[in-house]
């Protein structure tokens, strides 16, 4: 039982109010992050469709179906197997095709922009211009490219091939909707939109490196190539890991551009996993396949988690781990010795 004095002391402690002030964040976080996450897991175990037929058949979103959705998506002869794996393939191709050129370009520009020896007028202007595409909403960008290259509205194809009314093959117009052109366009848009952002991030990383290192390298006669590979690149490792990780998570969830590019009709060759999930989860009551969408989301959750862990594993600081291990061993050794000093039967 607390005394009156104790209670009084407790009540003047203002620390509690802090919790009230941060409460809104946790409420929002719980409602929009934690709850949907668990709800997705729950949905992945329930059926599909909310219409009368589905309910009558006992496969609707109200019915517990166990791992049926995962069977439908992952295993041979499942209802969605081909579709899902095709979408994973699309996602990886588009992400790979956009990440590698994007990081190379950003790195190159970042090095140039931070190099003291490069005297370029209007650096600030270029930085802003390159960052600009990132500010435009993805929908507008997709709309822009749809107008430029889309199958039936293409101003580019029209200018190149049509001009004065000529008899050209209409199939040329379908450029955007065929397999590789569509993928390349999405990759290009993603690079164009994100290289400025990545560049700014890498620049801040480079600027964080001690300048005297570069000076020393210069005095020692290192050329630009050597400076980059021996100093900039190794010291950028942490920021590179961060870029790789965020880009990977973003890439696996890529949705807006592929979805909007053809005016809302998803082209099969750029149907990413996120598009797959969206396609399954929307539509009329009969088409509300929350189960499949949930199962695909859960699978993506684990893929992302595994890949994330892998990135951290590959990029771990080996020296530090080795040191820690050695220290531990030394401690054990010391303990063993100390024990060895006493009796042992």
């Amino acid at each position: 039982m607390a005394t009156a004095a104790q209670r009084r002391i407790k009540s003047v402690s203002y620390a509690k109010y802090g919790y009230i002030f941060i409460l809104p964040f946790f409420i929002v976080y719980f409602l929009f992050m934690v709850y949907p996450l668990f709800e997705t897991f729950r949905m992945s175990l329930y059926g599909n469709g909310a219409d009368k037929d589905s309910i009558k058949l006992g496969i609707s979103i109200q019915h517990y179906m166990g791992f049926q959705n995962f069977r439908d998506i992952l295993f041979k002869d499942g209802r969605n197997t081909a579709d899902f794996f095709a979408s994973i393939k699309n996602t990886l191709i588009i992400w790979g095709g956009n990440f590698l050129p994007q990081i190379s370009l950003s790195l190159l520009l970042a090095v140039w922009f931070t190099d003291l020896n490069v005297k370029m007028p209007g650096k600030g202007f270029f930085k802003v211009v390159m960052y600009m595409p990132n500010i435009i909403t993805a929908t507008s960008v997709a709309g822009l490219f749809y107008t430029l290259l889309g199958a039936d509205t293409s101003s580019v194809w029209y200018t190149i091939f049509h001009g004065p009314k000529s008899n050209f093959d209409q199939n040329l117009l379908l450029g955007l909707t065929s397999v590789w052109p569509a993928r390349l366009i999405v990759m290009f848009i993603q690079i164009w939109m994100w290289f400025g952002n990545t560049m700014i991030m890498l620049m801040s990383g480079i600027q964080g490196i001690n300048e005297s290192l570069f000076e020393a390298a210069e005095i020692d006669g290192a050329n630009a190539h050597q400076t980059f590979w021996r100093i900039t690149f190794p010291l950028l490792k942490t920021i590179m890991v961060y870029t790789l990780l965020t880009s990977m998570i973003g890439g696996l969830q890529m949705f807006d551009i592929p979805y909007m590019l053809n005016g809302g009709t998803i082209i099969p060759s750029i149907k990413t996993v996120a598009c797959f999930i969206y396609e399954k989860a929307t539509g009329t009551k009969a088409a509300k396949a929350y189960g499949w969408a949930g199962a695909a989301s859960v699978i993506m959750f684990f893929i992302t988690a595994i890949l994330g862990a892998l990135v951290f594993y590959v990029q771990r600081d080996k020296d530090a781990i080795e040191k820690k291990r050695k220290r531990k061993e030394a401690m054990k050794e010391a303990k063993r010795r100390a024990r060895g000093g006493g009796f042992s039967i």
């Binding site: 219409d51 209409q170 009329t284 088409a287 396949a289």
Partner: protein, 487 residues
């Protein structure tokens, strides 16, 4: 005491914070449920008054015992949802001209960019707590909504008896009836189709001067194919504009529905036969490579095709044909429309190789409708009253769901459609409409049609080895997207 105060404050904070998230929920149902009974009484009084005032009605229906108009009558603004106002703007005009209502009473709200989009989006809007009074449904997916009591109410709620729907075509009533036998949709249209063709080509290749003469060359599918070969050889033109259009004609004549009683997918020989025909037409150039609703108009304008399969709603004032170059769209309030380009003069209309019908739009009553009186009058005006329907048909050029009205127009011989050189398309449609049957529609039609056509397109382009591989691709699409269809 302090603790109590604090926990009260905390609860209050939580309550305020959480109210931010529930504000968008549907509160109208609970708050209005209480007074609905009182408004129902007042609205019935008004609706009985309108029954007396609408003296133009047929005497036979006047004897019918009708239920009360149970729909709330909170305001006199009729809100109609549709994906396009092509029809509605004409309907609103005629309705405002012929009744005491004005344009201010009629509100069109656009939902979705096309029929398919509207199908998906209506539900989203309803689920979000929004509502209209009437909304428009297409035959392809009407069952999605009329079978669902969360979205639609029976039309008897507006004060109609079953007998009121008997003035129109049987099939229209049947399509508007849900699986429990309740009438939930009523249409102003009947939608038989035919074949629109170039008269100059018909004369040059076949020597046919009138539609009746030309009909001999397209009277069945074998003759049609033979004629297609001739046209291709002599004029290097296709016979059909798009594969999508061809399937519309074929799908109507299919004898089985897409799913059977156990919700199992039905793929019969008819589908195979069509796929093979499509391949033959595509390879030999009897059909253009244009895409339905996308590049078809260009194919027609560039003279790539000799004809198009078109149905009633294509001929209307804002119908499909009005979109073609030269088929000038006149001002909205004009009573006649003109065709200046070469397309109007050189086209004529005939029945073609088989009878068929395509789509049509039904008016359904939203569950939370709140303008009972005007909704009743609107539905009656366009789907039951032969006199007013005749007026609308004359104004819009649409073929209406009233044999009586259409017979009157055909007999008068006043209808001259500008797109087809002044020919009366109603005469052909009137004969065709009596035979329409739409027994095979299911709620999956629009979805399955899309998958089927997509796969047929892939097949004719050579992406599948044979028809069986194509059908496998079709099955994969269906099973992978429609969970309710059993394997």
């Amino acid at each position: 005491m302090n603790k109590l105060k604090k926990s009260l404050a905390l609860i209050a904070t939580l309550a305020i914070a959480s109210s931010a998230f529930v504000a968008c929920g549907d509160d109208s149902s609970s708050s209005t449920a209480g007074n609905s009974s009182s408004t129902a009484e007042s609205s019935t009084a008004e609706s009985s008054a309108t029954e007396e005032s609408s003296t133009g009605e047929e005497s036979s229906t006047a004897e019918v015992e009708r239920p009360e108009n149970k729909v709330k009558n909170d305001d006199d603004k009729l809100v109609v949802w549709c994906w396009t106002d092509d029809d509605l703007k004409n309907m609103f005009k005629v309705f405002a001209d012929e009744t005491d209502y004005t344009a201010d009473n009629l509100v069109f709200e656009k939902i979705g960019g096309g029929g398919e989009e509207a199908r998906d989006q209506y539900a989203t809007y309803f689920d979000a707590g929004k509502s209209c009074d009437l909304f428009v449904l297409e035959a392809d997916w009407i069952k999605d909504y009329i079978d669902d009591d969360d979205y639609t109410a029976p039309l008897s709620d507006l004060g109609f008896a079953d007998a009121d729907f008997n003035n129109g075509y049987d099939y229209v009533k049947k399509v508007g009836t849900n699986s429990d036998g309740v009438i939930k949709g009523s249409s102003w249209q009947a939608t038989p189709g035919g074949y629109v063709y170039r008269t100059d080509i018909a004369e040059e290749v076949f020597g046919a001067k009138t539609p009746a003469e030309f009909q001999e060359y397209v009277k069945d599918w074998d003759t049609f194919t033979a004629s297609a070969a001739k046209v291709k050889e002599q004029k290097n033109m296709a016979m059909v504009d798009t594969l999508g259009g061809l399937w519309q004609v074929w799908s109507y004549n299919r004898s089985s529905a897409w799913v059977d009683g156990d919700n199992k997918l039905v793929i019969d020989d008819y589908c195979k036969k069509y796929a093979e025909l499509a391949k033959e037409y595509y390879d030999k150039g009897y059909v253009t490579k244009a895409v339905q609703w996308k590049t078809w108009d260009k194919a027609v304008q560039d003279g790539e095709t000799m004809g198009i399969f078109q149905c009633t709603w294509c001929f209307g004032k804002n119908g499909t044909l009005s979109g073609l170059e030269g088929n000038t769209k006149t001002a909205d309030d004009a009573t006649e429309w003109t065709v200046d380009g070469p397309f109007g003069k050189n086209w004529a209309f005939t029945q073609g190789p088989s009878g068929w019908a395509w789509g049509g739009s039904w008016l359904a009553l939203a569950k939370n409708a709140n303008s009972g009186k005007i909704a009743h009058d609107f539905v009656e005006f366009f789907t039951m009253n032969a006199d007013t329907m005749q007026k609308y048909a004359e104004y819009s050029g649409d073929f209406l769901n009233s044999p009586k009205a259409m017979k009157a127009i055909v007999d008068a011989g006043t209808n001259k459609n500008a797109y087809i050189g002044g020919q009366d398309q109603f005469a052909i449609f009137y004969d065709a409409a009596a035979n329409i049957k739409m027994d095979n529609i299911t709620k999956y039609d629009s979805t399955l049609k899309k998958y089927f056509n997509d796969n047929v397109s892939k097949y004719v382009e050579g992406n599948f080895a044979d028809v069986d591989a194509m059908l496998e691709g079709f099955k994969t699409d269906v099973y992978g997207n429609v969970a309710a269809i059993q394997k």
